[in-house]
Symmetry: C2
Subunit: 415 residues, 2 copies
């Protein structure tokens, strides 16, 4: 049970890894079950996460105009509940997107069944789905799954839950950290699923974060937005954005450690650490990916400008295929930067790959190519583009290489 | 020789195909030679195009901030000459990009040598290069090639020139049309090269248009911009934009048919027809391409909005791989539209593929999938996204499918 003694997080915080995922923080239970949406009887396809008492909650949703029923329902719920949630219910195998009125009914039904099982109002339940789109949910199976999951919830169910939200992700993604402050220690945990296909359909990113810090819904929301900007929103596999993307955070307060404006940096650091680990896991597990690529753009006029150039490089097919082939092709990095819509002077720009200078003062350093090629044969590739604008702003975007396997996964005829 | 009798183009024009390319219009000669930039002794790698007398000229250049030396030199020349040119010189096999001061000297030298051979000022010569970047031109070979080419120019050299500008384009692209107006007939011709690699480096689009209509540089420029908007600027292979892209147009006036504001539509129609044929040839010959995809977005609020959505669909990796695999995946088309940054109501939108309705009123028409899959197995795929905004504006973008062969071409380690 949650500690009731209240401690004030203050001073400098230290973040260290710990075991577990979404139930590493106190005050949460979870379960992952097979309810029959996925064909294989051993495949988990439904997860429920609950807080022992109604928790502060915050959520970010896909910006795609085509939004799935669970996205629309969760948006409404978190608004109606003023940022309070007691449970999250997630199914994989079916996105419940482009499913019309019956899809909306099914998403509402998922919330209602979960609410009645855990004892809260339906608007204190957030709903997420991932999988094939344009196909209706087998709602009877889902309802049976919700009943089974809510009956089976434990403090140790995190790894089942992390598996139950996967589609064809090559591995589950969960993570937790301890945040120690002079005023007390709290825990942040999370799980995510990335770009996989249950059928050749669109990929979806789902992320779930928990903490036992005591924080208001509004401060949790601010921390979620700020941490996502440089983690979940700073990754790209193929530049696509799904109908179902969601990122939910819940704070149980069970550690008794209170977060206010002064101790906000400690919460932010915890969320950032967990989110970055999960986000990089999504990129590493991207479809057909064999390498993680970090693209850092430095000395831009503004952070937004740096991010825009980094994103253009990270989404460039020519850069992604060059990295796949370990080709030290600085020209593609420069050319992608040059079409990013951000003005800069090419003669002041530099390109480093793996920390090795490849382009400076308008001219290549081709003698570096063999060393750079060695770096690019590894599984982590670092690209640094310095715009030389004098503005000093920088940003990093993470992506993966583009392989023939990506084409195979997404180009196979599905009937 | 050019007719000296002046005729006024008037009334309704008819455009019909004719044989030949850039020398189909009267008043032009050309030659393509091997000068030794490409390794194979049989590979043509330098072309010169001249007008019998100084011609009206117009040019469009890459918008990339990293611009190759020939782009910078040609920009300066067409400005200095106030839109008059007597020759174009093009080499393939080396882009003369990111080559510093010596690259600028080489590009100027190409213009000077051509000018002295054909009898004009250097600023009446436009220069273009395509091929590997960051490598210096073998300028002595290029100069010898210019002398050989200018000595060999004929009215029948068009197909050699079209081959000499290729890198790894799978086929040469040339085309010509007759434009008949009640006031007289003129000819428009052209050649282009697309996305191919001399080494695994960036692709470059070069386009050259000629006409024997008599038209002022300013009106020619207007027609070039307007025709490129819906042709050369409405295609995408991989969303990349090179350091060397150029589109040049020259008007000899040799037909004696005068184009003024009233007869401008006839010139535009001729340029549009030739440009569309060449641009679609570039897409058909795109790296690894097996299918031409036309993406038409209709009923947008503005043409720009329609173009933005069409471009987002056309550059979507998930759409391009689905078309490659003949997968009738309307969900990817809808999801790409939804992230294009143009507001629309999904419940009013429709998606047709091959003219067959796949999505309407928020719901799929999955019964159409087998028929659509048949259409997608062909070499030309038509995607229609209607935004249902009531604005009535539409635009088409052409692209190709994304195959494992694209990854192979661009991912092969180059050393």
């Amino acid at each position: 049970m949650a500690s009731t003694e209240s401690k004030q997080a203050t001073g400098k915080s230290t973040v260290t890894p710990t075991t577990g995922g979404i139930t590493a923080p106190a005050g949460f239970k979870t379960a992952g079950v097979h309810c029959g949406i996925k064909a294989s009887p051993s495949a988990l396809d439904l997860a429920v996460l609950t807080a022992d008492t109604p928790a502060s909650a915050a959520a970010l949703f896909t910006t795609n105009l085509a939004q799935a029923a669970p996205v629309l329902v969760s948006k409404k719920h978190i608004e109606q509940s003023h940022g309070i949630a007691k449970a999250v219910v997630v199914n994989s195998g079916c996105a419940n997107a482009c499913t019309g009125d019956s899809g909306m009914e099914h998403a509402r039904r998922m919330a209602e069944e979960t609410a009645s099982a855990v004892g809260c109002t339906p608007d204190q339940v957030l709903v997420a789905s991932t999988g094939v789109i344009g196909v209706g949910l087998k709602i009877d199976r889902v309802v049976a799954g919700i009943r089974a999951a809510t009956a089976a919830m434990t403090r140790g169910g995190g790894s089942d839950a992390a598996r139950a939200i996967m589609t064809t992700d090559p591995f589950p993604k969960e993570c937790a950290v301890l945040v120690e402050t002079p005023g007390g220690t709290f825990t942040v945990g999370g799980m995510a699923k990335g770009s996989g296909m249950i059928e050749p359909n669109m990929a979806t990113m789902l992320g779930f974060l928990t903490t036992d810090a005591k924080v208001s819904p509004s401060l949790l929301r601010r921390a979620l937005q700020e941490s996502a900007r440089d983690t979940f929103n700073a990754i790209t596999v193929d530049g696509e954005c799904s109908t179902n993307d969601v990122l939910f955070a819940m704070a149980s307060g069970a550690s008794g450690v209170v977060i206010d404006d002064a101790s906000y940096p400690a919460l932010l650091e915890g969320l950032l650490t967990v989110s970055k680990e999960l986000a990089l896991g999504i990129v590493r597990g991207g479809e057909g990916a064999t390498k993680l690529i970090a693209v850092t753009v430095a000395d831009a006029a503004t952070v937004d400008a740096a991010r825009q150039v980094a994103r253009t490089i990270a989404n460039s097919l020519l850069v992604k295929t060059a990295v796949h082939g370990a080709d030290p092709n600085w020209g593609r990095i420069l050319a992608a930067s040059g079409r990013a819509g951000v003005p800069f002077d090419v003669s002041r720009a530099t390109v480093h790959v793996g920390g090795i200078l490849m382009f400076e003062k308008g001219l290549p350093h081709d003698e570096a190519a063999p060393l750079v090629a060695e770096h690019m044969k590894g599984t982590e590739v670092q690209i640094d583009m310095n715009l030389g604008s004098g503005g000093g702003a920088s940003a990093t975007i993470w992506t993966c290489d583009l392989s023939a396997e990506y084409v195979r996964i997404n180009g196979e005829y599905r009937t």
